[in-house]
Every structure is written in C-alpha cells, then in structure tokens.
C-alpha cells in the first residue's frame, strides 16, 4: 500500500523530480570536476544574480497557468530599471525608488492585461507588440546611455554579503509564499481554474477574465520587482538590461513542467527549472567548455526535458 502510494507520488511529481535529478547530477559532476563552483563568494553572487530571473519566472508561471504568455517582460524589465535608476539618480527618497518600478511594471502589465482579457486579443501577439514598442521607445529616449546610481542604493546600503543574502532569502520567501498561495488560497485555485477551462470558470462565477487581467498586472509588478532586485546589485543601470529574460523565464517554466495548454504545473518545478538553467552556463565556464557551445546545450536541455515528458505521456497513452 505505502509503496504503491509512494509510486503514485513519484508519477505525480515525475517532472519536478526528473528536473531535480538532472540538476543533482550536474551539481555532482561539478563537485568532482570543479569544486570551486561551490566557493561561498561566487556562489552567493551567482545566486543573487539569478534572483531576478526566479521572480520573473514565478510571474510567468502564473501567466502560463492562465493559458496565456507574456514575451514583453524583457522590455518591461528595462523600462522599470531605467525609471527606477533615473529616480534614484534624481535623489528621490529610497522608498519611492523601490515602489516606482513595481507600479510602472504593474501599469505596463495592466496594459497587456486589458488588451488580452478586455479585448480578448491573443496574448502572444499583444505582448510581442508591446515588447517591441517598449524596447524601441526606451532605446529612442535613452540612447543606451548608462545611468550612474548614488552609492547608498547598492545592496540597499547593506554590506555586500548581507545584501546578497537578503536578496536570495527574499526571493525564496516570495517563491514559497506564492507556491503556498497557489495551492492553498482560493485566488491561486482561480488561476488554475481560469487556465483549465475559462468558460466553466465563468459559469461557476469565477470571473476568469478579471483573473487573467490581474495575473498580467501581477506579472508586471513582479517584473518591476525583478528589475529592482537587479538594480541594487550594481551602481549602474544598463538600459539594455533584461534582454532575453522572457525566454529564460518561459524556458524555466516549461522545463519545470508547466503545460502551455494552461491549468497544469507547480512553482516548485519552475524553481528547479530556474536553478537548472542557471547552472548550465556557469558549469560550462567551470568545466572550461568553449563558450560557443552554450546556446546549443541550452537548446538541447529544453528539448530533452520536453522530449522526456512526451515519451512518458506517449507510453501512458499506449498503456491505457
């Protein structure tokens, strides 16, 4: 009985476990081949560098669970970062600098959400459009000039190590909180419901379109937060920052087992996905693999993850 149930859990969490397994293997290889990988300092700053991606991936997970997608977060990220940076450079009080990117992100997200949920336009196209518009608009106004930040802002004025720890802990708390909420709060279940079958949700009185809209707003706010968390890690803002983060986030979610058809997937899987993808690139450096293999290997990993799943569900189909 017990082992049968344990088997069930295994099959239920197969995806999460398989990703975690791959991650563990990779880490073991590194532990043997390049123990330097686990030195405290690089480890901490590496993790800190990855917190923005994690936050963005959490938001993206919600969006995909809603059977939507948002490829504009890279541009949102840059816009929020630059605005926050400008405010900071303009000697605005710290809390303004911290709140502004969240609000701006939320506003941008609301724009996407309004078009997707309100006008029922396909999200991939809407966000494709807003991505280009935001990115080019920023390039036009900012012309790629860095913004130098005042000294007080980096690590929120904390010491470097404690600042990094703060970021990491905060990101993990956020993840845990969201994971808990997705499982144990009605709001979270509404998101699953809306993604699983919007019409059924409507008939059950759950207002899926409002849910979708709010998820986009949340996505925007989280993007702003991610931008802020990236901002405080260096004394300058690069107006090109955030380029490609949308692909990272989507890839992490997919590798973590979130179904693009909506309604299926868990944040812990996404966490594993983020960690895995975040480890690949440094691993290449530590194992002294030539950099030009990077893209190919990342692509291969994404494919492997989905192919494994595909083969498994195919077996399931044939077994039934």
């Amino acid at each position: 009985m017990t082992e049968r149930s344990s088997l069930q859990t295994v099959s239920k969490y197969f995806r999460e476990l398989s990703v975690a397994a791959v991650l563990v293997v990779l880490l073991l290889v590194l532990a043997v081949a390049a123990p330097a990988f686990f030195d405290a300092q690089p480890l901490f700053s590496r993790l800190a560098r990855d917190t923005p991606t994690l936050v963005a991936a959490c938001g993206m997970t919600l969006v995909i669970l809603c059977r939507q997608i948002d490829i504009s977060i890279g541009s949102q990220f840059a816009v929020c970062g630059v605005c926050a940076g400008a405010l900071a450079a303009g000697k605005e009080p710290a809390f303004v600098v911290c709140v502004a990117p969240l609000l701006i992100g939320a506003a941008l997200g609301a724009f996407n959400g309004a078009l997707v949920a309100g006008l029922r336009l396909p999200s991939i196209v809407v966000t494709l459009a807003t991505m280009v518009m935001a990115r080019e608009g920023l390039r036009w106004t900012q012309q790629g000039v860095f913004i130098n930040l005042p000294d007080g802002l980096q690590w929120f004025g904390l010491a470097q190590r404690s600042g990094q720890c703060a970021l990491i802990v905060f990101a993990l708390l956020l993840l845990a909180a969201m994971a808990w909420a997705m499982k144990n709060l009605s709001a979270g279940r509404f998101i699953y419901a809306a993604g699983s079958d919007a019409e059924a949700a409507r008939l059950a009185g759950l207002r899926p379109r409002l849910t979708t809209f709010l998820v986009f707003v949340l996505m925007g706010a989280l993007t702003g937060l991610a931008a802020l968390m990236n901002l405080v890690q260096s004394p300058q803002v690069d107006p090109k920052s955030g380029t490609g983060i949308e692909l990272k986030a989507i890839a992490a979610a997919v590798v973590g087992g979130v179904a693009v058809s909506g309604g299926r997937g868990r944040l812990w899987g996404v966490f594993a996905g983020v960690l895995l993808l975040a480890c690949v690139n440094p691993a290449l450096t530590y194992l002294h693999v030539e950099a030009y293999w990077e893209k190919a290997i990342q692509g291969a990993i994404i494919l492997l993850a989905v192919v494994a799943d595909g083969l498994r569900s195919r077996k399931a189909r044939e077994a039934s």
Binding site: R49, G144, V145, F146, K240, T243, P282
Partner: protein
C-alpha cells in the same frame, strides 16, 4: 480572391508611380551627410554624434544619423541602399561587418556617392577614405601591451567580448592572440566569454571566470558595457587590485571604478573628435578639398592631421587612467 486582385492592382500602381518619378534628380543645394553607427542606442556612438553635430553646425550641412537597432550587417546594408536611393551626397559608416556592407558601399560609389568609413573599416575598394582612430592591430596591440605591463608579462587572463559573432571584435581577438604569441610567451589566455553587449551578463560571466580560474591576473573587456560589468564583478569578489581590469569603454561609464582602483585603464580615443573628424572628411571629400594622394589634411579645430594612403590618422588610441580620466566628460 478579391484581395489578391487588389494586391496586383496596388503593385502595378506602385510601379507606375515609380516610373513617372524616375526623372526627378536630387536637388542638392545643401550637403547631405549620412552617418551610420554599428547600432543605435549605443553610448559610444552617441558621443561620436556629439562631435558630428558640432562639425555639421560649423559648416552648415545636413546630417542624417541612423543605423540598425541591433548590430546586424543585413540591416546596415539595407539602410545604406535606402540612402543611395534617397540620394544623399556622402555616406559615413562604422562597419559592423566588412564584407556584409562592402557590396552596398561599392554600389554607392558606383552611383557617385562618396563613402567614408570610421571606427571600423570596410574593404578598401568600397570607400574613399577611412578615418582611422585606430586600426584593429593598433587597438589589439595597445590592449595587449597594456595588459602585459599591468601583469608584468606573465599569468592568466580572460577576454569578455560582446558576442562570438561580432566581426570587429573577432578581428581584435585575432590580433590580440597574434600579439600574445609573438611577444608575451609567459601569458596565457584562459577563456573568452560573450556578454551579448549586456553589462549584467558581463558581470555574471566575470564572476564565474574569477572563481573558475583562481589564478586569473587580468580581465580584458573589449566591448564597452563589459568593462564596468567586469569591474563590478572583481569588486564584489573582493579581488580589487589582485585582478586587474582593462578594456575599451567610455570614461563616463568607468570613472567610478578607475578611481576605486578596480579598473586600471580604459582604452579609447576622443570619440567626439572622431565624430567631428569623420564629418569634416566626409564634407571635404565631396567638396574635393581632400583627394587621394594628399599627405596632410587640415581638420578644423583638430589642426593638421597625417594622411596615410587612404586613411586619415586621428592618433593612437588613448589610455584613460586614474590621473587623466577626470579631464574627459564623454
């Protein structure tokens, strides 16, 4: 069905309007200079543009400043061809990729448009003059020599580049490695990482390089966002001073790190002068004041400059360091 019919109708209309437009010629009363950076939204070229604007104001010419949003030879090529049909008088280009753009530039010259290249050259038969702030060899050697000086000619170092496909940086890397082989046998290039022209990625890459190669002596960042990125990584790793940082970048972006002693030296030329000179040359080539065979050229406020063959020498790359960096505001 209907639409496709309308489409045909539309195309014929387009061509029609084209044919009767053939005749009109460029009424060029005012000199039109088209200036193309490798990519828009790049601080380096913005500071070049500052100088260009200055020159244009001096001579009262008409300046078009445009380029691809991301460094893409195909798009550069496209814009040049658009300028040809637009009928500009002279084109000044910073080439992302020699061959990629030379075809278009040749076409421009065939149409009687003067072509000047700056920052990075095209094939020599594709342009009239090259405003030579520094040849790839020059840059590479300056970088390598500086690196050698800082590390006493021995130890490991790593390079951070924009992307593995950026043509001019690959050129520099080639010459750097050549220089390394012939002059500094005791130095070793351990790794080369791309940063996609993003400061954040440069910082991450540098962090990994530092701990993956414990006895790294120096990081050489050959694209401008990478210099502050690498510096920040070194600083965070607490290796300020033990691991040197040098690279090609703007003073304004690196001043802080240079003062803190994280970055030893930033190598660049006076970008505003480069822009200024480029426009001057462009104007005078069209005006006929500058012909091939000249050996000196009077470039406005820059005074007389040496002309080597078909390239005007702005001067050797300039090394910014703690002493002099505050004198420059770009």
């Amino acid at each position: 069905m209907k639409q496709s019919f309308l489409l045909v109708l539309f195309l014929s209309l387009a061509l029609g309007s084209g044919c009767q437009k053939q005749s009109d010629s460029s009424g060029g009363k005012k000199l039109t200079i088209a200036l193309m950076p490798k990519s828009k939204g790049n601080a380096y070229f913005i500071s070049c543009k500052a100088g260009a604007d200055e020159a244009v104001k001096e001579m009262g010419a008409d300046l078009i400043f445009d380029g691809p949003t991301d460094p893409d030879p195909a798009k550069q090529n496209e814009i040049v061809e658009n300028w040809i049909t637009l009928g500009v008088d002279v084109i000044a280009v910073a080439c992302e990729n020699k061959e990629g753009i030379s075809t278009a530039l040749k076409k421009a010259r065939a149409k009687g448009i003067k072509v000047v290249t700056f920052d990075s050259d095209a094939n020599s038969d594709a342009r009239d003059f090259f405003v030579n702030q520094a040849t790839p060899e020059g840059i590479a050697q300056t970088l390598m020599d500086e690196a050698a000086r800082l590390t006493n000619e021995e130890g490991e170092f790593a390079i951070i580049t924009a992307s593995l496909t950026a043509a001019n940086m690959n050129e520099w890397r080639k010459h750097i490695e050549a220089r390394l082989r012939e002059k500094y046998p005791k130095m070793k290039l351990v790794d080369t990482k791309p940063c996609d022209d993003l400061k954040d990625k440069a910082q991450t890459e540098a962090t990994n390089l530092l701990s993956a190669n414990p006895n790294l002596k120096l990081i050489m960042a050959i694209c401008s966002p990478a210099v502050p990125g690498a510096a920040e990584a070194v600083k965070q790793a607490g290796k300020t001073g033990t691991v040197k940082v040098i690279g090609l970048g703007l003073p304004s972006e690196n001043r802080k790190y240079v003062h803190e002693g994280v970055t030893q030296s930033v190598i660049l030329w006076k970008t505003t002068d480069l822009g200024y000179l480029t426009i001057k040359v462009a104007a005078d080539v069209t005006g006929g004041k500058l012909k091939s065979g000249d050996t000196t050229y009077h470039a406005g406020r820059l005074g007389d400059l040496e002309v080597k063959g078909d390239s005007i020498i702005l001067g050797k790359p300039f090394i910014f360091n703690n002493e002099n960096i505050d004198q420059f505001d770009f």
